[in-house]
Amino acid sequence: MSDFVKHSLRAMLFLLVQVFILHKIPPLHQFIVPYLYFLFILWLPFNMGRTWLMVVAFLYGLALDYFLMWPGLHTAACVLIAYLRPFLVNLLIRQEGAEQSYGAPSINSMGWAPYMVLVVVLTLVHHSYLVFLEWMSFGNFWYFLGKVGASTGISLLLILITEMLFYRKERFRTNM
Protein backbone atom coordinates (compact mmCIF):
# COMPACT_ATOMS: atom_id res chain seq x y z
CA MET A 1 0.00 0.00 0.00
CA SER A 2 1.48 3.31 -0.99
CA ASP A 3 2.03 6.00 1.61
CA PHE A 4 -0.47 8.30 -0.03
CA VAL A 5 -3.31 5.77 0.14
CA LYS A 6 -2.38 4.79 3.69
CA HIS A 7 -2.43 8.34 4.96
CA SER A 8 -5.63 9.23 3.10
CA LEU A 9 -7.45 6.27 4.65
CA ARG A 10 -6.03 7.18 8.02
CA ALA A 11 -7.25 10.77 7.65
CA MET A 12 -10.78 9.64 6.79
CA LEU A 13 -10.86 7.17 9.67
CA PHE A 14 -9.65 9.77 12.18
CA LEU A 15 -12.25 12.27 10.94
CA LEU A 16 -15.11 9.78 11.19
CA VAL A 17 -14.05 8.68 14.68
CA GLN A 18 -13.77 12.28 15.82
CA VAL A 19 -17.07 13.44 14.34
CA PHE A 20 -19.30 10.43 14.82
CA ILE A 21 -17.94 8.90 18.02
CA LEU A 22 -16.04 11.43 20.10
CA HIS A 23 -18.35 14.34 19.37
CA LYS A 24 -21.50 12.23 19.80
CA ILE A 25 -20.67 11.09 23.33
CA PRO A 26 -22.76 13.05 25.80
CA PRO A 27 -20.38 15.51 27.49
CA LEU A 28 -19.14 14.47 30.94
CA HIS A 29 -18.46 18.07 31.84
CA GLN A 30 -18.33 21.26 29.84
CA PHE A 31 -14.53 21.29 30.15
CA ILE A 32 -13.97 17.81 28.79
CA VAL A 33 -13.90 17.65 25.01
CA PRO A 34 -12.17 14.53 23.78
CA TYR A 35 -9.96 15.29 20.78
CA LEU A 36 -8.02 12.62 18.94
CA TYR A 37 -8.10 13.72 15.30
CA PHE A 38 -4.86 15.75 15.41
CA LEU A 39 -2.85 12.56 15.95
CA PHE A 40 -3.05 12.23 12.17
CA ILE A 41 -0.77 15.26 11.80
CA LEU A 42 1.70 13.83 14.28
CA TRP A 43 1.81 10.60 12.31
CA LEU A 44 2.63 12.19 8.94
CA PRO A 45 6.01 11.12 7.52
CA PHE A 46 9.26 12.85 8.41
CA ASN A 47 10.29 13.48 4.84
CA MET A 48 7.33 15.69 4.02
CA GLY A 49 8.25 19.32 3.30
CA ARG A 50 7.26 21.84 5.93
CA THR A 51 5.00 23.76 3.59
CA TRP A 52 3.26 20.61 2.44
CA LEU A 53 2.80 19.53 6.03
CA MET A 54 1.00 22.80 6.73
CA VAL A 55 -1.12 22.58 3.58
CA VAL A 56 -2.22 19.05 4.47
CA ALA A 57 -2.97 20.13 8.05
CA PHE A 58 -4.98 23.06 6.73
CA LEU A 59 -7.17 20.90 4.48
CA TYR A 60 -7.56 18.28 7.18
CA GLY A 61 -8.61 20.84 9.79
CA LEU A 62 -11.02 22.45 7.36
CA ALA A 63 -12.65 19.07 6.66
CA LEU A 64 -13.31 18.61 10.38
CA ASP A 65 -14.57 22.18 10.69
CA TYR A 66 -17.15 21.68 7.98
CA PHE A 67 -18.56 18.72 9.90
CA LEU A 68 -18.69 20.69 13.14
CA MET A 69 -19.92 23.75 11.21
CA TRP A 70 -17.40 26.20 12.55
CA PRO A 71 -14.92 26.86 9.70
CA GLY A 72 -11.46 28.03 10.73
CA LEU A 73 -11.35 26.99 14.38
CA HIS A 74 -9.66 23.58 14.12
CA THR A 75 -7.93 24.64 10.91
CA ALA A 76 -5.95 27.32 12.71
CA ALA A 77 -4.90 24.93 15.50
CA CYS A 78 -3.89 22.20 13.00
CA VAL A 79 -1.73 24.60 10.97
CA LEU A 80 -0.01 25.74 14.16
CA ILE A 81 0.98 22.24 15.28
CA ALA A 82 2.04 21.33 11.74
CA TYR A 83 4.34 24.37 11.76
CA LEU A 84 5.84 23.50 15.15
CA ARG A 85 6.28 19.77 14.56
CA PRO A 86 9.54 19.87 12.53
CA PHE A 87 11.21 22.13 15.13
CA LEU A 88 10.33 19.77 17.95
CA VAL A 89 11.36 16.71 15.98
CA ASN A 90 14.75 18.27 15.28
CA LEU A 91 15.18 19.06 18.96
CA LEU A 92 14.11 15.66 20.20
CA ILE A 93 15.85 13.28 17.85
CA ARG A 94 19.32 12.68 19.17
CA GLN A 95 21.06 10.28 16.83
CA GLU A 96 22.07 11.54 13.44
CA GLY A 97 19.72 10.81 10.62
CA ALA A 98 16.85 9.12 12.45
CA GLU A 99 14.43 11.02 10.29
CA GLN A 100 16.12 9.63 7.22
CA SER A 101 16.09 6.04 8.35
CA TYR A 102 12.56 5.92 9.73
CA GLY A 103 9.26 6.79 8.08
CA ALA A 104 7.25 8.70 10.65
CA PRO A 105 7.29 9.69 14.34
CA SER A 106 6.39 6.73 16.52
CA ILE A 107 7.50 5.06 19.71
CA ASN A 108 9.91 2.77 18.01
CA SER A 109 11.45 5.33 15.68
CA MET A 110 12.01 8.04 18.26
CA GLY A 111 12.03 6.19 21.56
CA TRP A 112 9.47 6.38 24.35
CA ALA A 113 10.49 9.58 26.09
CA PRO A 114 11.11 11.85 23.07
CA TYR A 115 7.93 10.65 21.38
CA MET A 116 5.86 11.29 24.49
CA VAL A 117 7.38 14.75 24.88
CA LEU A 118 6.44 15.49 21.26
CA VAL A 119 2.87 14.31 21.84
CA VAL A 120 2.39 16.15 25.14
CA VAL A 121 3.79 19.44 23.86
CA LEU A 122 1.81 19.43 20.62
CA THR A 123 -1.40 18.38 22.39
CA LEU A 124 -1.01 21.20 24.87
CA VAL A 125 -0.27 23.73 22.12
CA HIS A 126 -3.21 22.52 20.02
CA HIS A 127 -5.69 22.71 22.89
CA SER A 128 -4.44 26.03 24.21
CA TYR A 129 -4.76 27.65 20.81
CA LEU A 130 -8.16 26.09 20.18
CA VAL A 131 -9.60 27.16 23.53
CA PHE A 132 -7.94 30.55 23.20
CA LEU A 133 -9.79 31.16 19.92
CA GLU A 134 -13.03 30.08 21.60
CA TRP A 135 -12.24 32.26 24.56
CA MET A 136 -11.89 35.36 22.35
CA SER A 137 -15.63 35.12 21.70
CA PHE A 138 -16.71 34.20 25.24
CA GLY A 139 -15.62 32.79 28.54
CA ASN A 140 -13.23 33.81 31.31
CA PHE A 141 -9.75 32.87 32.43
CA TRP A 142 -10.74 29.92 34.62
CA TYR A 143 -12.75 28.58 31.74
CA PHE A 144 -9.60 28.74 29.62
CA LEU A 145 -7.35 26.99 32.15
CA GLY A 146 -9.91 24.37 33.12
CA LYS A 147 -10.77 23.49 29.58
CA VAL A 148 -7.17 23.27 28.39
CA GLY A 149 -6.22 21.09 31.37
CA ALA A 150 -9.17 18.72 31.25
CA SER A 151 -9.17 18.32 27.47
CA THR A 152 -5.42 17.73 27.34
CA GLY A 153 -5.73 15.05 29.99
CA ILE A 154 -8.48 13.17 28.19
CA SER A 155 -6.71 13.55 24.81
CA LEU A 156 -3.46 12.12 26.16
CA LEU A 157 -5.34 9.17 27.57
CA LEU A 158 -7.00 8.55 24.19
CA ILE A 159 -3.66 8.86 22.37
CA LEU A 160 -2.05 6.38 24.76
CA ILE A 161 -4.86 3.90 24.13
CA THR A 162 -4.59 4.42 20.37
CA GLU A 163 -0.83 3.86 20.42
CA MET A 164 -1.29 0.64 22.36
CA LEU A 165 -4.13 -0.67 20.21
CA PHE A 166 -2.60 0.17 16.85
CA TYR A 167 1.04 -0.57 17.15
CA ARG A 168 2.73 0.90 14.11
CA LYS A 169 5.75 -0.98 12.89
CA GLU A 170 8.03 1.63 11.38
CA ARG A 171 10.33 -0.17 9.02
CA PHE A 172 13.97 0.70 9.24
CA ARG A 173 14.52 2.00 5.74
CA THR A 174 17.76 0.93 4.12
CA ASN A 175 19.21 2.34 0.94
CA MET A 176 16.29 4.51 0.13
Binding site: P27, D65, F67, W70, G72, T75, L133
Partner: protein
Protein backbone atom coordinates in the same frame (compact mmCIF):
# COMPACT_ATOMS: atom_id res chain seq x y z
CA UNK B 1 14.97 43.26 -5.49
CA UNK B 2 17.30 40.32 -5.15
CA UNK B 3 17.24 40.75 -1.40
CA UNK B 4 13.46 40.55 -1.33
CA UNK B 5 13.53 37.24 -3.17
CA UNK B 6 16.23 35.97 -0.84
CA UNK B 7 14.15 37.03 2.15
CA UNK B 8 11.07 35.27 0.79
CA UNK B 9 13.03 32.13 0.04
CA UNK B 10 14.66 32.12 3.45
CA UNK B 11 11.43 32.60 5.40
CA UNK B 12 9.16 30.77 2.98
CA UNK B 13 7.93 28.34 5.67
CA UNK B 14 7.17 31.06 8.14
CA UNK B 15 5.42 33.18 5.52
CA UNK B 16 3.28 30.29 4.33
CA UNK B 17 2.45 29.56 7.97
CA UNK B 18 1.29 33.14 8.44
CA UNK B 19 -0.72 33.03 5.22
CA UNK B 20 -2.52 29.81 6.18
CA UNK B 21 -3.20 31.12 9.69
CA UNK B 22 -4.62 34.33 8.30
CA UNK B 23 -6.86 32.38 5.94
CA UNK B 24 -8.09 30.13 8.76
CA UNK B 25 -8.76 33.05 11.08
CA UNK B 26 -10.59 34.97 8.37
CA UNK B 27 -12.92 31.96 7.92
CA UNK B 28 -13.40 31.85 11.66
CA UNK B 29 -14.27 35.49 12.21
CA UNK B 30 -16.32 35.94 9.09
CA UNK B 31 -18.41 32.90 9.92
CA UNK B 32 -19.11 34.12 13.42
CA UNK B 33 -21.11 36.94 11.92
CA UNK B 34 -23.08 34.40 9.93
CA UNK B 35 -22.12 35.58 6.53
CA UNK B 36 -21.60 33.12 3.79
CA UNK B 37 -18.51 31.15 4.75
CA UNK B 38 -16.01 29.75 2.30
CA UNK B 39 -17.62 27.09 0.11
CA UNK B 40 -20.25 26.58 2.80
CA UNK B 41 -22.87 25.54 0.27
CA UNK B 42 -20.84 22.72 -1.27
CA UNK B 43 -19.47 21.58 2.08
CA UNK B 44 -22.97 21.60 3.52
CA UNK B 45 -24.17 19.30 0.77
CA UNK B 46 -21.33 16.82 1.34
CA UNK B 47 -21.40 16.75 5.14
CA UNK B 48 -25.20 16.59 4.94
CA UNK B 49 -24.98 13.39 2.94
CA UNK B 50 -22.48 11.78 5.30
CA UNK B 51 -24.59 12.84 8.27
CA UNK B 52 -27.65 11.33 6.65
CA UNK B 53 -25.90 7.96 6.32
CA UNK B 54 -25.01 8.06 10.00
CA UNK B 55 -28.53 9.12 10.88
CA UNK B 56 -30.10 6.04 9.24
CA UNK B 57 -28.50 4.04 12.06
CA UNK B 58 -28.90 6.62 14.79
CA UNK B 59 -32.55 7.24 13.92
CA UNK B 60 -33.44 3.61 14.51
CA UNK B 61 -32.29 3.79 18.11
CA UNK B 62 -34.20 6.99 18.75
CA UNK B 63 -37.48 5.93 17.10
CA UNK B 64 -39.18 5.25 20.41
CA UNK B 65 -38.42 8.70 21.78
CA UNK B 66 -39.37 10.41 18.49
CA UNK B 67 -42.70 8.57 18.38
CA UNK B 68 -43.47 9.48 21.97
CA UNK B 69 -42.87 13.16 21.27
CA UNK B 70 -45.00 13.17 18.14
CA UNK B 71 -47.88 11.39 19.90
CA UNK B 72 -47.74 13.89 22.75
CA UNK B 73 -47.90 16.73 20.27
CA UNK B 74 -50.85 15.09 18.50
CA UNK B 75 -52.73 14.80 21.79
CA UNK B 76 -52.14 18.47 22.53
CA UNK B 77 -53.45 19.42 19.09
CA UNK B 78 -56.48 17.12 19.37
CA UNK B 79 -57.46 18.76 22.61
CA UNK B 80 -57.85 22.00 20.71
CA UNK B 81 -60.53 20.56 18.39
CA UNK B 82 -63.91 22.18 18.77
CA UNK B 83 -65.75 18.85 18.82
CA UNK B 84 -64.16 18.13 22.19
CA UNK B 85 -66.07 20.90 23.87
CA UNK B 86 -69.72 20.18 24.49
CA UNK B 87 -71.86 21.73 27.10
CA UNK B 88 -74.28 19.39 28.97
CA UNK B 89 -76.89 22.10 28.82
CA UNK B 90 -78.21 21.99 25.25
CA UNK B 91 -79.79 25.41 25.49
CA UNK B 92 -76.28 26.82 25.51
CA UNK B 93 -74.63 26.86 22.14
CA UNK B 94 -71.02 27.35 21.12
CA UNK B 95 -70.77 29.91 18.39
CA UNK B 96 -67.48 30.37 16.62
CA UNK B 97 -66.98 33.98 15.80
CA UNK B 98 -64.51 33.73 12.96
CA UNK B 99 -64.33 33.00 9.27
CA UNK B 100 -63.45 29.70 7.67
CA UNK B 101 -59.83 28.67 7.32
CA UNK B 102 -59.89 28.70 3.50
CA UNK B 103 -60.84 32.32 3.33
CA UNK B 104 -58.19 33.11 5.95
CA UNK B 105 -55.39 31.86 3.70
CA UNK B 106 -54.24 35.30 2.50
CA UNK B 107 -53.84 36.35 6.13
CA UNK B 108 -51.73 33.37 7.17
CA UNK B 109 -48.70 34.88 8.83
CA UNK B 110 -46.67 31.78 9.73
CA UNK B 111 -46.09 28.97 7.24
CA UNK B 112 -44.86 25.63 8.59
CA UNK B 113 -42.68 23.11 6.79
CA UNK B 114 -41.58 19.82 8.27
CA UNK B 115 -38.00 18.53 8.09
CA UNK B 116 -36.00 15.53 9.25
CA UNK B 117 -32.97 16.08 11.45
CA UNK B 118 -29.99 14.27 9.94
CA UNK B 119 -27.11 15.46 12.09
CA UNK B 120 -26.66 17.09 15.45
CA UNK B 121 -23.96 17.98 17.97
CA UNK B 122 -24.41 18.99 21.57
CA UNK B 123 -20.83 18.83 22.80
CA UNK B 124 -19.40 22.12 21.54
CA UNK B 125 -20.00 25.74 22.49
CA UNK B 126 -21.91 26.53 19.33
CA UNK B 127 -24.12 23.60 18.48
CA UNK B 128 -25.69 23.07 15.09
CA UNK B 129 -28.11 20.56 13.66
CA UNK B 130 -28.37 19.64 10.00
CA UNK B 131 -31.83 19.18 8.49
CA UNK B 132 -32.79 17.51 5.24
CA UNK B 133 -34.55 20.40 3.50
CA UNK B 134 -32.79 23.20 1.75
CA UNK B 135 -33.16 26.27 -0.41
CA UNK B 136 -34.79 24.28 -3.25
CA UNK B 137 -37.54 23.33 -0.82
CA UNK B 138 -38.11 26.86 0.40
CA UNK B 139 -35.79 27.21 3.40
CA UNK B 140 -34.05 30.56 3.79
CA UNK B 141 -31.55 31.75 6.41
CA UNK B 142 -33.08 33.29 9.54
CA UNK B 143 -36.23 31.20 9.54
CA UNK B 144 -37.30 29.88 12.94
CA UNK B 145 -37.05 26.17 13.74
CA UNK B 146 -39.29 24.57 16.36
CA UNK B 147 -39.71 20.97 17.43
CA UNK B 148 -42.60 18.93 18.88
CA UNK B 149 -41.59 20.14 22.36
CA UNK B 150 -40.71 23.75 21.68
CA UNK B 151 -38.06 26.07 20.31
CA UNK B 152 -35.08 24.45 18.55
CA UNK B 153 -33.17 27.26 16.83
CA UNK B 154 -32.70 29.37 13.74
CA UNK B 155 -31.58 28.55 10.19
CA UNK B 156 -28.13 30.02 9.50
CA UNK B 157 -27.07 28.43 6.24
CA UNK B 158 -28.73 26.60 3.39
CA UNK B 159 -27.58 24.52 0.43
CA UNK B 160 -29.79 22.98 -2.25
CA UNK B 161 -31.09 20.09 -0.11
CA UNK B 162 -29.74 20.64 3.40
CA UNK B 163 -29.77 23.44 5.93
CA UNK B 164 -27.83 24.06 9.11
CA UNK B 165 -29.65 25.30 12.16
CA UNK B 166 -28.02 27.05 15.10
CA UNK B 167 -29.68 25.54 18.15
CA UNK B 168 -30.82 27.32 21.28
CA UNK B 169 -27.83 25.81 23.10
CA UNK B 170 -25.31 28.07 21.34
CA UNK B 171 -23.51 30.98 22.92
CA UNK B 172 -24.55 33.41 20.19
CA UNK B 173 -28.21 32.46 20.19
CA UNK B 174 -30.67 34.83 21.84
CA UNK B 175 -34.44 34.60 21.92
CA UNK B 176 -37.02 36.87 23.50
CA UNK B 177 -39.25 35.01 25.95
CA UNK B 178 -42.05 35.68 28.42
CA UNK B 179 -43.41 33.99 31.50
CA UNK B 180 -46.69 32.29 30.70
CA UNK B 181 -48.41 33.33 33.93
CA UNK B 182 -47.43 36.98 34.31
CA UNK B 183 -46.39 37.88 30.77
CA UNK B 184 -43.12 39.35 32.04
CA UNK B 185 -40.54 39.44 29.25
CA UNK B 186 -36.84 38.62 29.34
CA UNK B 187 -33.95 37.64 27.12
CA UNK B 188 -32.91 33.99 26.98
CA UNK B 189 -29.41 32.69 26.22
CA UNK B 190 -27.12 29.78 26.98
CA UNK B 191 -24.06 29.93 29.25
CA UNK B 192 -22.29 26.97 27.65
CA UNK B 193 -22.52 24.56 30.57
CA UNK B 194 -25.41 22.12 30.60
CA UNK B 195 -27.12 21.29 27.29
CA UNK B 196 -30.51 20.97 29.04
CA UNK B 197 -30.41 24.30 30.92
CA UNK B 198 -30.70 27.83 29.47
CA UNK B 199 -30.69 31.16 31.31
CA UNK B 200 -33.32 33.87 31.35
CA UNK B 201 -32.34 37.34 32.53
CA UNK B 202 -34.03 40.52 33.74
CA UNK B 203 -37.13 39.25 35.48
CA UNK B 204 -38.16 41.84 38.15
CA UNK B 205 -38.22 40.55 41.71
CA UNK B 206 -41.82 41.65 42.09
CA UNK B 207 -42.97 38.81 39.86
CA UNK B 208 -44.07 35.59 41.58
CA UNK B 209 -42.25 32.64 40.08
CA UNK B 210 -42.63 28.98 40.88
CA UNK B 211 -40.61 25.99 39.83
CA UNK B 212 -42.17 24.45 36.73
CA UNK B 213 -43.66 27.66 35.31
CA UNK B 214 -43.65 27.69 31.52
CA UNK B 215 -41.68 30.20 29.49
CA UNK B 216 -42.96 30.90 25.97
CA UNK B 217 -41.69 32.92 23.04
CA UNK B 218 -42.94 36.48 23.21
CA UNK B 219 -44.76 38.51 20.58
CA UNK B 220 -41.68 40.70 20.13
CA UNK B 221 -39.56 37.98 18.57
CA UNK B 222 -39.86 38.70 14.88
CA UNK B 223 -38.88 35.25 13.60
CA UNK B 224 -40.54 32.96 16.16
CA UNK B 225 -44.32 32.73 16.31
CA UNK B 226 -45.59 33.76 19.77
CA UNK B 227 -46.48 31.27 22.52
CA UNK B 228 -44.11 28.47 21.56
CA UNK B 229 -42.66 26.68 24.59
CA UNK B 230 -39.03 27.49 25.34
CA UNK B 231 -38.68 25.72 28.65
CA UNK B 232 -39.86 25.42 32.22
CA UNK B 233 -38.38 27.14 35.27
CA UNK B 234 -35.88 24.85 36.96
CA UNK B 235 -34.56 27.21 39.64
CA UNK B 236 -34.49 30.90 40.49
CA UNK B 237 -31.12 32.57 41.04
CA UNK B 238 -31.36 35.56 43.33
CA UNK B 239 -28.76 38.23 42.61
CA UNK B 240 -28.78 40.52 45.71
CA UNK B 241 -27.03 43.39 43.90
CA UNK B 242 -29.82 43.98 41.39
CA UNK B 243 -33.57 44.11 41.31
CA UNK B 244 -33.78 41.22 38.89
CA UNK B 245 -33.91 37.47 39.07
CA UNK B 246 -31.95 35.19 36.79
CA UNK B 247 -33.89 32.05 35.94
CA UNK B 248 -32.52 28.67 34.97
CA UNK B 249 -34.87 27.03 32.49
CA UNK B 250 -35.03 23.38 31.56
CA UNK B 251 -35.34 23.37 27.76
CA UNK B 252 -38.53 21.93 26.30
CA UNK B 253 -36.59 20.29 23.49
CA UNK B 254 -34.10 17.55 24.24
CA UNK B 255 -31.46 18.37 21.64
CA UNK B 256 -29.86 14.95 21.68
CA UNK B 257 -33.05 13.12 20.70
CA UNK B 258 -34.94 15.56 18.48
CA UNK B 259 -35.68 13.86 15.13
CA UNK B 260 -38.34 15.97 13.42
CA UNK B 261 -38.61 19.74 13.35
CA UNK B 262 -40.82 22.39 11.76
CA UNK B 263 -39.37 25.33 9.90
CA UNK B 264 -41.47 28.43 10.40
CA UNK B 265 -41.58 31.17 7.82
CA UNK B 266 -42.91 34.54 8.84
CA UNK B 267 -44.47 35.77 5.59
CA UNK B 268 -44.74 39.33 6.84
CA UNK B 269 -41.20 39.54 8.19
CA UNK B 270 -39.85 41.43 5.18
CA UNK B 271 -42.58 44.04 5.39
CA UNK B 272 -42.00 44.49 9.11
CA UNK B 273 -38.24 44.84 8.70
CA UNK B 274 -38.61 47.30 5.84
CA UNK B 275 -40.87 49.48 7.94
CA UNK B 276 -38.55 49.30 10.95
CA UNK B 277 -35.51 50.19 8.85
CA UNK B 278 -37.31 53.08 7.20
CA UNK B 279 -38.30 54.42 10.64
CA UNK B 280 -34.75 54.11 11.88
CA UNK B 281 -33.44 55.94 8.82
CA UNK B 282 -35.80 58.87 9.17
CA UNK B 283 -34.96 59.26 12.85
CA UNK B 284 -31.25 59.38 12.27
Amino acid sequence: MRNIFLFIRRYFNFLSFLALQALALSFLFRYNKFHEAAFAGVANEITGRVNEQYNTVDYYFKLKKANENLVKENVALRELLRSNYQSPDTTQKLIVDSIRVDSLKPFQRYVYREAKVVGSFITTQTNFITIHRGSSQGVRPDMAVIGPNGVVGRVVNTSANYSTVMTMISRQFKVDGKLKNSGERGSIGWDGQNPRIVQMRNIPKSVKIQKGDSVLTSELSSIFPPNILIGTVDSVMNDPSTNFYNLRLKTGTNFSTVQFVYIVQNTQLEEQQKLENATRNTNE
